[in-house]
């Protein structure tokens, strides 16, 4: 976390609001994200976590608010003012998006190697040998046996699919990754390995991340800061340890006390 005082934050989110008809899904959400920082968004289901994530990742346009991303050129770009081509370019170079369901983020019928290489091919890489070498290297980094490079994710286990999805996103060395419940649906030991991997990768690559989760343990392990949401509003923000050990808002207190202690 490098929060130098005069450089603008990597991502500046202000006043994001979203309605679905009469229902208010999200109201006045605002936060800053600094390079290399991991932010967890917690809350029960229906609290607007995923709506916030999709709005910030420019996957759906919010009704109100702005999102500014600090490009590699050192200039802040309003992501909703960018043209569609630029936004898509941003989404596949500087950003990554890890879906809860790996099938949404992967091409299930093409090989693991092509899944990892797709972003590079979209950016104009036209050398098979280099693509192959990069894919092998990334499979190793996410602890998938490189011998399985030619197998389709359809035959992979849930944990492997999730790791492959991470490799596919990180191959362009993005600076910001959005993760929507990356560990739910996996059993606990697989979850632990994935969390370990994510922690290692975010540290090595100086990766900023926004992780949406309902699992406070995930937030504690991964995140530097967290954001607690209830009914479309951000009710509490702060350092992870601070929020979890000394919750101030009644809802956060309820959330923390609901966790089973084995």
């Amino acid at each position: 976390m490098k929060s130098s005082s005069n450089a603008p934050p990597l991502l500046q989110v202000r006043g994001i609001g979203k309605r679905y008809g009469e229902r208010v899904a999200l109201q006045d959400a605002a936060f800053d994200l600094w390079p290399g920082e991991v932010l967890a968004v917690v809350g029960e289901s229906g609290s607007g976590k995923s709506t916030l994530l999709n709005a910030v990742a420019a996957r759906s346009r919010p009704d109100a608010g702005s999102v500014a991303f600090l490009g590699r050129d050192g200039v802040q770009h309003d992501v909703f003012a960018l043209g569609e081509a630029q936004r898509r370019l941003l989404a596949r170079t500087d950003w990554g998006f890890v879906h809860q369901d790996a099938a949404e983020g992967l091409r299930m019928d093409v090989s693991a190697g092509a899944n990892v290489g797709e972003r590079l091919m979209a950016l104009g890489e036209r050398h098979y040998g280099r693509l192959r070498a990069t894919a092998t290297e990334w499979l190793q980094r996410v602890e998938i046996d490189p011998a399985r490079i030619d197998e389709a994710p359809r035959v992979f286990s849930g944990g492997m699919r999730q790791r492959l999805q991470i490799a596919r996103n990180l191959v362009t060395r993005p600076r910001l990754v959005f993760m929507d419940e990356p560990t739910s649906g996996l059993d606990v030991s697989v979850q632990a390995r994935l969390l370990d991997l994510l922690r290692q990768l975010t540290r090595q690559m100086q990766l900023a991340a926004i992780v949406v989760t309902h699992d406070l343990a995930v937030a504690r392990l991964l995140a530097h800061r967290m954001l607690v949401m209830q009914r479309g509003r951000v009710v509490e923000t702060g350092l992870t340890d601070q929020v979890l050990d000394d919750p101030q808002h009644p809802y956060t207190q309820l959330l923390v006390s609901s966790v089973l202690q084995p």
Binding site: A85, G113, E118, R126
Partner: protein
């Protein structure tokens, strides 16, 4: 008083109503409005090489997949002075070719030919003639699947966006898969091409052997997909590059035997099994090319003996 009715009865009985003076059928089967609509789509297609233009494909008197798109395009561009050639897999005398040729003979009365240089309009299924096309000729392709990315990205809204933004990484994913699986690019037909440096296009299921012929071709190339309701075009002298990787470039098929009939070494060969013991014969797929080569050789042979 009886005379007119007698005449009418006689005419009905013998069927000698003057159909030549007042034809019951419109020239080239389609009505004029449909032809105008298709011509508009064609103009747009020619203006934007490789771009798939939607058009209101009509019901045709034959099933989808038998060349309804190609027939509509041909019917929209054919004129009474045209000389038509129809080929199916390189041959002028297979079922599809014979039927489409007869269809246009009956609905337009134009002259037909099997000789490539004599034709002004060629409708083809799955081949480009070996004889190089010339300026002024038009070749119409029958296209079953106009969208080259369809098998990897089934959402049409998404493939249109990809075309619009020229995001063609997906095409290389397909080729990557080929190399990963077979050690080389195993796509042998409908091999994707980049037209005029902008649009990736499905060249219809021609063998990739024919892909280089599309590049800078002096003839006008039109593509019609009837079921998918798309028309696209490659104007004369347009760049058409086949996609590939730097270390696995595009290559055409090669055969280590010449044509068994005409001895050609530079044409696309079909493998024909000639008996029950598995004897094989490689012959030119382009029957007109093969025949004219044999006729030339005969003429040269008889000329030299006399």
């Amino acid at each position: 008083m009886n005379a007119p009715s007698e005449l009418a009865v006689a005419m009905a009985a013998t069927g000698t109503a003057d159909t030549e003076a007042a034809p019951d059928f419109n020239f080239a089967y389609l009505d004029e409005r449909t032809k105008r609509m298709i011509r508009r789509a064609l103009l747009k297609a020619v203006a934007i090489p490789g771009y798939q233009v939607p058009f209101g494909s009509r019901e045709m008197p034959l099933p989808y997949g038998w060349g309804t798109g190609g027939i509509q395009v041909t019917a929209a561009v054919i004129g009474p002075e045209d000389v038509l050639k129809v080929i199916d897999q390189g041959s002028d005398d297979t079922v599809n070719a014979v039927n489409i040729r007869r269809f246009f003979e009956r609905t337009t009365g134009v002259a037909t030919t099997t000789r490539t240089p004599q034709a002004t309009l060629i409708q083809t299924r799955h081949r480009i003639p070996e004889t190089p096309l010339a300026e002024g000729q038009v070749i119409v392709y029958q296209v079953p699947v106009p969208e080259p990315m369809q098998r990897l990205e089934p959402r049409e809204a998404e493939t249109r966006t990809l075309h619009g933004l020229a995001e063609y990484g997906l095409m290389h994913v397909k080729l990557y898969e080929d190399i990963a699986r077979y050690g080389r690019i195993a796509t042998t037909y409908d091999y994707p091409v980049l037209v005029n440096g902008r649009y990736v296009m499905a060249p219809s299921p021609i063998p990739k052997f024919d892909n280089p012929k599309m590049h800078m071709n002096p003839a006008l190339q039109l593509f019609g997909a009837g079921r998918e309701k798309r028309i696209y075009a490659v104007p004369p002298y347009t760049r058409v590059e086949s996609l590939g990787f730097e270390d696995h470039p595009f290559e055409v098929q090669r055969w280590d035997v010449p044509c068994a009939l005409c001895g050609a070494t530079d044409s696309f060969l079909d493998e024909v099994i000639t008996d029950d013991t598995g004897t094989r014969l490689h012959v030119c797929s382009d029957s007109d090319h093969c025949q004219s080569r044999r006729a030339d050789a005969e003429a040269a042979g008889s000329g030299s003996t006399q």
